[in-house]
Symmetry: none
Subunit: 221 residues, 2 copies
């Protein structure tokens, strides 16, 4: 018999966790070691000595700390945790972002339960895994950019936002104009405009509305 694969599940919807558990329990090779209902619980759990999992199944939208933050935490602490992101969004932007943050698999909640099992086995085995719908979305927008094994290109690695960019973003969502932001932060309008442009580029959105929507989706506001 092969070695067991230990899995931790994080999602704010308990019903979904139970569902995943039920699905996973049909496979003898995989065992759930625990679950978390918030991102904070996840990082706390992994900080307790002795707590570990071969694979972490991680929801993106969670209170307290979302999936992005959890991944950032792992990256910062140089914790080499294999993560499968479980998301409602087929959005390529999100897939790219979590990939850049070191996540190894991505399955949408629309996919069938058996896919989770395949994903877990693949990722535990050092491979990457994407559910079908995600794959086709990916191919459509960035054909050929996926690195098959492990590491992601460094150039995009930190498309995370800087402190000041975040400050500007928050004020943008409050309907501030560049002039008002400059005033509020005691900076030049030119500087604020630089941040705006930087934000647009990093978040790959078209305009201030896109920035605001991003902020909402990621619970920055």
């Amino acid at each position: 018999m092969k070695k067991k694969i230990y899995v931790h599940v994080a999602d704010d919807h308990k019903i979904l966790i139970e569902g995943i558990m039920a699905v996973i329990n049909t496979d003898k090779e995989i065992e759930i070691t625990g679950y978390s209902l918030t991102g904070q619980e996840v990082v706390d759990w992994f900080h307790v000595k002795g707590n570990k999992a071969d694979v972490l199944i991680l929801d993106i939208t969670m209170p307290v700390l979302d999936g992005f933050e959890v991944l950032k935490h792992f990256a910062k602490e140089k914790i080499d945790q294999k993560v499968i992101v479980l998301s409602s969004y087929d959005d390529v932007k999100i897939v790219q972002e979590v990939l850049n943050l070191g996540c190894k698999g991505y399955i949408s909640k629309n996919s069938a339960g058996e896919h989770i099992i395949n994903a877990i086995k693949a990722v535990a085995n050092g491979e990457q895994y994407f559910s079908n719908d995600i794959q086709s979305s990916l191919l459509k927008s960035i054909s050929g950019q996926i690195v098959p094994k492990g590491d992601v290109p460094d150039k995009f690695l930190l498309n995370s936002l800087t402190e000041r960019e975040l400050d500007v973003l928050k004020l943008i969502t409050k309907e501030y104009s560049s002039i008002e932001i400059a005033d509020a932060m005691s900076l030049s309008t030119n500087t604020i405009d630089t941040y705006r442009k930087s934000l647009l580029k990093k978040l790959k959105v078209k305009n201030a509305v896109g920035l605001a929507m991003y902020a909402v989706k990621n619970k920055i506001v």
Copy 2:
């Protein structure tokens, strides 16, 4: 042995459906007769002769036709279907709305799976059922008896928007420029700009970001 309770489940996330099925299958008294992934599938399913269920478990956020629309359909067609809404939102507004549409139970996805079983039995038995967190939300807003601030005036504002203004608003949240909106709606850019100005005035916000944030707050998007 009691008569079996037949249940139909509707949710766009297959994993969640499987979870619910797994949970429900632990109870001998309840049996799943089928499931749907969109609201359209639900109404179609119930239109097929012979297809029926004692209880329908219905997600609010679904593509093609959302939960609200399904409930409205049942009301319009005078179909007396017992429905339990399963939602991510603890929002009192939503609870009120689905109640008005004839829904008999409401459980949040945050609640444990066993609650579903209790809910199904209660509702099948002609009772109402609300999961604990929903109940406390309800109590909070009722005992505070001041209708949640912002709600009433907002609803007033929302109702004052015309069809076309709403159309434009939706496209604005998708990062469309006026030119793109004009193109999409086959109208003049001048017309779109008129709607933008009208929206700014009616919703009392300063710019497109304000419009987008309003749309988010009021779940227009």
